[in-house]
Symmetry: C2
Subunit: 357 residues, 2 copies
């Protein structure tokens, strides 16, 4: 019964598996790169103070004009260079549809955000993965081949490794006739955004999310920045899929959050400081830590190894991310929480490692 009604091929899709969202409140949750601090108080206050009855009764602004203006102001762009979506996952999906359905393969790193191959399946896009070096760095020369386009996260996930803008420019120049998407979900934790390159590169699309540095994963808001002709392509796909993807509350809350630049830079600074302390502490415990400009660390624990440590931490109500995948199965990805959470993590790691030796 199950599949006779499905479109042919639907049963071949292998959906993305998000990090676990357990319901326990007592857990220290360091597995999905959420921000440990509450979002901008300006944004949160809106919810209490604003009367949303009328805004909810009516359809929201299908073009999210105010929100796009706030994003444009922050990044020195015009509103027509900004596209917003229901989380950066939706923005990514629409970007794959709009730019990468071609006869050549799309190129992306072999170790990267695992939703990329899923979008390729969804839209029947060919792809070719390009191996990272042994130290997980990206070899840019490998991307100068005939392609449908290129997508890389910067910093990359789950490695945390960052490419400086000169290298992003090298990538953009090597694919002048194809779109290069720089997925900057983690850029605010120490990197420099490629958004400053938009006026010079007609093939550059930069994607951001409010889920990490804005502490609004629960709001589902992502955006793309690029020259007007790329944004128009995205709008054409979006308006053929869902006219009103951003609800009236999310438009207002996100606008307030984007405009609260003081909260944002303060928050990023706190996360970065905690990451640096945590990196030193893990190194002291014998972990091999990959240099990270993100709000997580990819680290290879000493004996008993990644999987055993993941399970032992879980027993102690600390959740980190373990990928049972080639090349990274000896590593754990640890999101940066509060200082107190990271101290508990370190203390528990120390105890577990000591009990093994």
């Amino acid at each position: 019964m199950s599949k006779i009604y499905w479109s042919p091929g639907l049963d071949q899709l292998e959906p993305y598996t998000p990090g676990e969202q357990p319901k326990s409140e007592t857990l220290i949750k360091l597995n999905t790169n959420e921000n440990p601090y509450p979002a901008s108080p300006e944004a949160l206050r809106l919810l209490e103070q604003h009367d949303f009855a009328d805004a909810l009764r009516r359809y929201p602004d299908p073009e999210s004009c105010e929100l796009r203006r706030a994003i444009a102001d922050k990044h020195n762009l015009s509103a027509e260079q900004v596209f917003v979506g229901n989380g950066s996952d939706e923005v990514l999906a629409l970007s794959f549809y709009s730019f990468f359905r071609r006869s050549e393969p799309l190129l992306f790193p072999d170790i990267t955000y695992s939703f990329y191959p899923v979008y390729c399946q969804l839209f029947n896009i060919k792809s070719r993965t390009v191996p990272l070096h042994g130290d997980f760095s990206i070899q840019l020369e490998d991307y100068a081949a005939p392609a449908a386009g290129v997508i890389i996260p910067n910093p990359n996930a789950p490695t945390g490794r960052y490419l400086p803008l000169e290298q992003i420019e090298q990538l953009l120049r090597s694919q002048p006739e194809r779109v290069v998407v720089i997925d900057e979900a983690y850029i605010d934790f120490g990197g420099e955004s490629a958004a400053t390159l938009i006026d010079r590169y007609p093939n550059l699309l930069v994607i951001h999310t409010l889920s990490k540095s804005y502490a609004l994963a629960g709001l589902r808001l992502g955006f793309a920045m690029g020259q007007k002709h790329l944004i128009e392509g995205l709008l054409r796909a979006k308006n053929s899929f869902n006219s009103y993807p951003i609800d009236a509350i999310a438009q207002r809350v996100a606008t307030a959050a984007i405009r609260d630049t003081a909260w944002h830079s303060d928050n990023c600074g706190k996360v970065i400081a905690t990451r640096e302390r945590c990196e030193r502490a893990l190194t002291d415990l014998g972990f091999e830590v990959i240099p990270s400009q993100a709000n997580f660390l990819l680290a290879k624990p000493p004996e008993p190894g990644a999987e055993a440590l993941y399970l032992a931490l879980r027993e102690r109500n600390i959740l980190v991310r373990y990928f049972n995948k080639p090349r990274i199965s000896e590593y754990l990805r640890i999101s940066i929480g509060t200082d107190e959470e990271m101290e508990q993590l370190i203390r528990n790691c120390k105890e577990i490692l000591a009990s093994q030796s």
Copy 2:
């Protein structure tokens, strides 16, 4: 420049054009079938009273468990027979992808929701439109042909005409191997939902929205109901597109709205009573009104005709929907507002018609 970076064919898409969302506050807005009353106070109160900081910081429940349970309870189903999406437009898009990509054409009426042909273009689905009768009724025999599936709104939009359940059953029996989607966006204003047929028909998918009878168009929440194997197909497509389409606030507000059944039936009763009064008044003015079980009326005005009346009403700050399309260009679609708004509409129609004679 504009299109060299687009996927081939993207420039051929003709996106859906939603009804106008003007920013003027003084306008009487009867053009997009919104509810004239504020949503359930239980749902609205949540926004003021709940502390959303933690819910927004974290990713939302990707499975929207509580919301799906509330919907299942209301419709006497199990939660695994319910799928939720970011507005019923997203649910429709994913349904087209999941069930209708086949070698035969999808069948739907020639006069119906104008997003259907757009989804067909988006996913490269063949389609064949089936003409309505002269009185805008649906001829069911015409749907018993080899097809990828069938989709009809019940009540149909923009006609408002309703099919009783026996006729829906006839349709389901005529396509036993294909999915039949009944798009019930307007069912709560006088019709009987086909959700009661789900246990007997493995090919039935029923789609609802919170935008009309729940007065939550600004929240973007729609859902599908069907046997588990159809919901599993939708989940597979959804989890390959966007893991977390429903934000944390929308999940809670929608759950409260669905559970407030007293508000809902009271609200629908008020809209129905106003529609019936308005239908009589328009008939008295010489309009030909199509019988409607929706929260709008499709009506053919006397001289000077639909377009002239639409423009004259607009000058007087009353917005209704005029479709410049074959077969319905002599009609206006008028959403049901409050009694006072409809009295103003009638008074202004009377003045405009009088000034023409």
